[in-house]
């Protein structure tokens, strides 16, 4: 894996630049309603402004559920389980969370992060109409939406024949860049990204990683959920591991090796991680 090798900015491991806690997740538990879903069990972590926090884990250990709770597609039992700058947000819907400055890149880009048969303009509008003020006098401002879509395409080097083409016409990597771009250009206080470079070619992956680091350098809090440990080690300041719906305590990447993370992911330290999680609580 060559990911991260051509990053241009120095590593942003200067702890002093980290700001106050943006997102605090406190004793979050959730029963999944899906037949093969994973229940979340007393999850605790926080993300500060200016840092990238990584969550590693083998797929199917509660990442989907955690992401849906964070985005508001599923609601918490108690609003206080999720705090954004101290304000409880656990009962807010996705739109309300976006209004507070949170952006999301979901795991499945085609059909979840985008509408496959809609144009890039419509897909740009999809999650940004509030932050980017794309509605004027109750009507959709198509001109501004098109401009925003074109801005994403230009700044994130999305290869497309034009913003009138559908999301499904883009290659996986280009659609990923488009969605990441759409979320990042909304200047979020907090951005939650699932598998930022899944199926993306090396060049595009580097660009996305760079964008994530730049965003953190500018003060945003970034949460990245990924299976790719090389990726997490290349961009994160801290990493925690999710296994069977439980989250370990996060470690600074300088204090932990890929091998240790791998062991946590395999669940061999599962009981330990549970103890750690509860000691934090």
């Amino acid at each position: 894996m060559m990911i991260g090798t051509n990053l241009t900015t120095p590593r942003h491991d200067d702890g002093s630049k980290r700001g106050p806690v943006r997102l605090k997740v406190h004793n979050l538990s959730l029963d999944s309603h899906e037949q093969f879903g994973i229940d979340l069990n007393l999850i605790n972590f926080d993300v500060r402004g200016g840092e990238v926090m990584g969550i590693a884990g083998v797929a199917g250990n509660g990442q989907v559920e955690l992401l849906e709770v964070l985005s508001g597609e599923m609601l918490c039992d108690e609003a206080e389980h999720l705090l954004l700058e101290g304000t409880p947000i656990g009962k807010l819907n996705p739109t309300e969370r976006r209004e507070l400055g949170i952006a999301f890149v979901p795991e499945d880009r085609l059909g979840h992060g985008s509408v496959p048969d809609m144009s890039l303009t419509d897909n740009a509008f999809l999650s940004s109409y509030g932050q980017k003020k794309l509605i004027s006098n109750g009507l959709i401002n198509h001109k501004k939406s098109t401009q925003y879509a074109e801005e994403i395409v230009a700044k994130f080097d999305v290869r497309t024949a034009g913003v009138t083409h559908t999301a499904s016409s883009l290659s996986g990597g280009n659609l990923q860049k488009f969605i990441v771009g759409r979320e990042m250009l909304q200047d979020p206080k907090l951005i939650i990204i699932a598998h930022p470079t899944w199926g993306v070619d090396a060049g595009a992956a580097a660009a996305i990683h760079q964008a994530i680091i730049d965003l953190a350098e500018n003060g945003a809090a970034v949460l990245v959920v990924s299976q790719d440990l090389d990726e997490l080690f290349a961009i994160s300041n801290r990493i925690a591991v999710i296994a069977e719906g439980r989250l370990s305590v996060s470690r600074d990447i300088k204090e932990i090796s890929i091998e240790q993370i791998g062991l946590l992911m395999g669940g061999t330290e599962g009981s330990g991680s549970q103890k750690e999680a509860q000691s934090v609580a």
Partner: protein
């Protein structure tokens, strides 16, 4: 098979407009076969079906009269279909619109006021919306399939109408026929062209078409409807409420069908009868699909389906063809349309790999 079906990288926009025409051509070809089978000269039959009914001004006005309820119902249904809300009970909602609107007249029949007709239209919309609100409530609250509930309510609505005009709403001077009083002047849709039956309801239909077009193309709720229909998960990601859209589309569709109901009973029908619609609410399903769920397309499709009603009558009078041909024709159009629609998302290619598809 020599041909295989290959997915296009993105849906073909040309095909979206071409397939309704292809379906129409195929239907005409097929119905020529049906006419021949029924022992009628196919060219003469087609002439009677599609040209004779509208080759004079009165015929053209009748076309608009018949198209009005079809377009109103189809506009309402199309909004739901776009969101994958399958309201197929427009016929029942139309009936309830007629009951609510006509009911106002029955109780205020001696009132002569300019507000009577607007009141009837409003009540008709409310009646249709209430009837469609039942499937909406059952779907959002109990997850009951709206296809089945909205359809069952069609039968209930028809029986309800029959109950009322056999009982309390029967015309006291009507020799015991199951009919309401004839609607008075102030309860009747004003004619917009002397010497024809063309009435104000057609203008209501045009307003509905324009309004729906604006809603779908320009407003957030229209955008939400399209997103939830095309990719429900993307809709919930964007924070759009599925339940709200189910409520909205059903109430909207019900209101449109309700207005169609009032416009029929206070327009061409003129009173409440046991049967106030030759299945407009069902034919509207075909109109909605044939019109590509698009307001402008629905106008054309509505006119075409209206023509099949007129054509069926003309062909019966002139050639002795059974009226049922109309129903077969309408069903065939929808069939061929759905078949041709494969070309929007897929294309046919020669099968070189030897893999059998289909």
């Amino acid at each position: 098979m020599l041909l295989k079906i290959v997915k296009r990288p993105e849906p073909s926009r040309a095909m979206v407009y071409l397939t309704p025409l292809m379906a129409l051509v195929l239907t005409v070809v097929c119905s020529m076969g049906v006419f021949t089978f029924l022992g009628v000269d196919p060219v003469e039959a087609l002439r009677n079906f599609f040209i004779v009914p509208i080759n004079n001004a009165y015929g053209a006005s009748e076309l608009l009269v018949k198209a009005t309820p079809l377009i109103l119902c189809a506009i309402g249904l199309s909004v739901g279909f776009r969101a994958n809300v399958w309201n197929i009970g427009a016929e029942g909602q139309l009936t309830l619109g007629a009951i609510f609107g006509g009911g106002l007249f029955v109780y205020l029949h001696d009132v002569d006021s300019v507000f009577l007709l607007p009141g009837m239209i409003l009540l008709g919309a409310i009646g249709g919306a209430l009837w469609a609100g039942i499937p909406a409530f059952l779907k959002t609250r109990f997850n009951a399939n709206e296809i089945l509930t909205s359809l069952m309510l069609v039968y209930v609505a028809t029986l309800l109408l029959s109950l009322l005009i056999h009982g309390p709403w029967r015309d006291p001077d009507g020799f015991n026929f199951p009919e309401s009083r004839m609607f008075s002047e102030s309860a009747t849709m004003p004619l917009i062209l002397e010497g024809t039956r063309l009435h104000f309801g057609t203008i209501l239909a045009i307003i509905a078409v324009l309004g729906t077009w604006l809603m779908l193309a320009k407003t957030l709720v229209g955008f939400q409807i399209k997103v939830i229909g095309a990719a429900p998960k993307a809709g919930s990601y964007a924070g759009f409420s599925q339940k709200k859209i189910i409520w909205f589309t059903l109430l909207f569709g019900g209101a449109m069908a309700g207005i169609a109901g009032v416009s029929e009973v206070s327009g061409p029908v003129g009173q409440l009868l046991p049967s106030i619609s030759p299945g407009y609410g069902f034919t509207a399903i075909i109109v909605a699909f044939l019109g590509r769920l698009h307001p402008v397309g629905i106008i054309f499709a509505g006119l075409l389906m209206a023509l099949t009603y007129l054509g069926g009558e003309t062909a019966q009078i002139n050639l002795g063809l059974p009226v049922a041909v109309t129903g077969v024709f309408q069903g065939m159009v929808l069939f061929f349309l759905l078949a041709c629609d494969v070309l929007i998302s897929y294309r046919f290619a020669l099968n070189r790999t030897g893999r059998v598809s289909g």
